[in-house]
């Protein structure tokens, strides 16, 4: 029996362990990931079992972590880097954008950079400043990077395995408020493709598209709407870049309505890209304009205000009402 019930953080831990067992070139790097096991314990026990040569506690320098990971990848390693929190990735942003993303193209494909950058992201845990941000659009805008975010333990396990196996750099966004959510993980079953969206709940009246931490909010919204006789389809996008527009199109052609939900600010966010493309692809199918629900054009607020900032059940259902009113 290969099915176990695990919290999302533990599923990631199992995934990293399996990847390290399977391939001696897989290395983990980051601040406090060794003896401490990471501030969220995602690398718990790996230092003890694989040693400091493969679970590398680094100096406190994000650019240094990513820059040296690039060098290690050039030497044939497959580094999995942990950035401790979303808001701390920016010292490394230069290395990620100007170097990691472009080096494969610069070398006309002659070198590969299989680097995974793990970033616990998003809010909802009452954290202090810089510990709750959603930077996915900043990375998705950069050609050469892939950006993914699991929403449940099973995807966390498999998407991490697939990200490590990928020869491209992958920004792996871990929904930190879901770290403790439990779910079934079947470690023996062949997974969906890393970049394929999946229907998390079938419906016929409207499509809710989300990824990472917002999938659960959308599922809850769909359950609440069902009580009022509305049938909402929930699409778990899973991958922000590439984005599975075919799956969104299929769903929208069925339901004729689309609401996109993410934590990041709406302005210039991934929802804008999805709305534009789906309008192009599904112009004659849509019964209402594509609506977006997300964060505001403000710095992430102090924790006491984050429930106002984050899309919750009510804001999602309000958007559903507005869409259905057309």
């Amino acid at each position: 029996m290969t099915v176990t019930t695990l919290p999302l953080a533990k599923a990631l831990n199992e995934s990293l362990r399996k990847a390290m067992e399977d391939d001696p070139k897989v290395l983990l790097m980051g601040e406090d990931i060794g003896r401490l096991g990471g501030v969220f314990r995602v690398t718990d026990g790996l230092h003890k079992d694989f040693g400091e040569g493969r679970v590398i506690d680094t100096p406190l320098a994000e650019s240094g972590i990513v820059g040296t990971a690039i060098g290690l990848a050039l030497r044939g390693y497959r580094p999995v880097v942990e950035i401790q929190f979303d808001g701390f990735v920016f010292p490394a942003y230069d290395q990620i954008v100007t170097q990691l993303a472009k080096m494969h193209a610069r070398a006309l494909g002659k070198i590969k950079l299989p680097v995974v950058i793990r970033i616990p992201y998003g809010g909802g845990i009452g954290a202090v400043e810089h510990h709750s941000e959603s930077p996915e659009a900043l990375f998705a805008h950069v050609a050469g990077l892939k950006v993914v975010s699991p929403s449940n333990p099973s995807d966390a396990y498999w998407m991490m395995r697939q990200a490590i196996a990928s020869d491209d750099p992958v920004i792996f966004l871990e929904p930190k408020r879901r770290y403790w959510d439990k779910g079934e993980v079947d470690t023996g079953t062949a997974p969906a493709s890393l970049h394929a969206a999946q229907v998390a709940r079938e419906g016929s009246d409207l499509t809710l598209a989300a990824y990472g931490p917002m999938v659960k909010v959308c599922l809850d919204a769909a359950a609440a709407a069902a009580a009022e006789g509305r049938s909402l389809e929930v699409l778990d996008l899973r991958s922000v870049s590439p984005l599975d527009f075919d799956a969104v199109q299929t769903s929208v052609q069925k339901t004729r309505r689309l609401v996109i939900v993410h934590e990041a600010p709406v302005f210039f966010g991934s929802g804008a890209e999805i709305a534009a493309r789906i309008t192009e692809r599904c112009f004659y199918h849509l019964e209402a304009p594509v609506l977006r629900v997300g964060g505001y054009h403000s710095p992430y607020p102090p924790a006491r205000l984050e429930q106002e900032y984050l899309p919750g059940l009510d804001r999602v259902l309000d958007a559903v009402d507005r869409s259905l009113a057309y």
């Binding site: 240094g64 060098g71 044939g76 494969h104 193209a105 610069r106 990928s166």
Partner: protein, 359 residues
Amino acid sequence: MTPDADTVQLLTPEGELVSHPEYHAEVSADGLRELYRDMAWSRRMDGEGVTLQRQGELGLWPSLLGQEAAQIGAGRALRDDDYVFPSYRDHAIALCRDVDPLHLLRMFRGVSNGGWDPAEKNFHLYTLVIGSQTLHATGYAMGTAKDGAEGAVLTCFGDGATSQGDVSEAFNFAAVYNAPVVFFCQNNQWAISEGNERQTRVPLYQRARGFGFPGIRVDGNDVLACLAVTKQALERARAGEGPTLIEAFTYRMGAHTTSDDPIRYRDSEELEHWRAKDPLARVRALLESRGWADEAFFADVDTRCEERASRLRTDLRETAEPPPGNIFAHVYADGHALVDEERADFAAYQASFTDREAK
């Protein structure tokens, strides 16, 4: 801009050998003639880059004029299994690694962003973002040590790069992990228009001490000293003794790139001061005083350089334009749905012109 008494020098500007307690010049007739040939070709190739830019064949050229000794010294200190992470002015080191200079010219022509296979040449692509490559070099060196391989890593950067956080982070990572990497800083005195006094308040080689590894300043216009110092640093690295910082104290005789005008920011006296320290002239003086080279040798070097430069010029002008579809080539190793979609759209758009012409 004055080197201190600790600066390692083995060959004076007048072409006289001087002894040093720790470093020794490797002097043989053949060896010295080879170093001269290398420097002469570097200078000629570089001059061709400047000319071709002036003729509109290149968009830009960063000249190495004045830095031949630093680069040939470091480049010839390398073993085949060593790996180099260069900046964007390291043309002479590229030549030492057998990178076709046509690749360098094409890059500044706008045909590619590199073009050579880094792993085949053990010479990484030029890095334009200042100092980024020092971290790549450090990571690569950490990997080399993990593999138990013997090669060392050399990374090149300028005085301006030492102001970047990445360079300090690279120093620290290299020290913490005892990485087999040699940091080769060519202090050519000017970061575009900003002099050393805008980059640092302490001599650059002294920085290494704060990170816990040796820093050495070498006369960067003395090829024998650059060779000896770099060789020893690479040997230290290979022997597991960790990183070294070398500050090659030199001077950029030309502009930062063909886009700037050094007359605006530095005076001719300074230029004359450094002209008297010319890296080629002093090797030539030594060759002549030893009777190891005559007029015929130097004429032959010049003729060969002219022939190679001429061939290079012809080859560059015959370079085909990159096919437009290259925009989409190698963005991802494993593919990306959006790139595939845009590639198809682009091809259809291009084909629409052909179809119209056919009608």
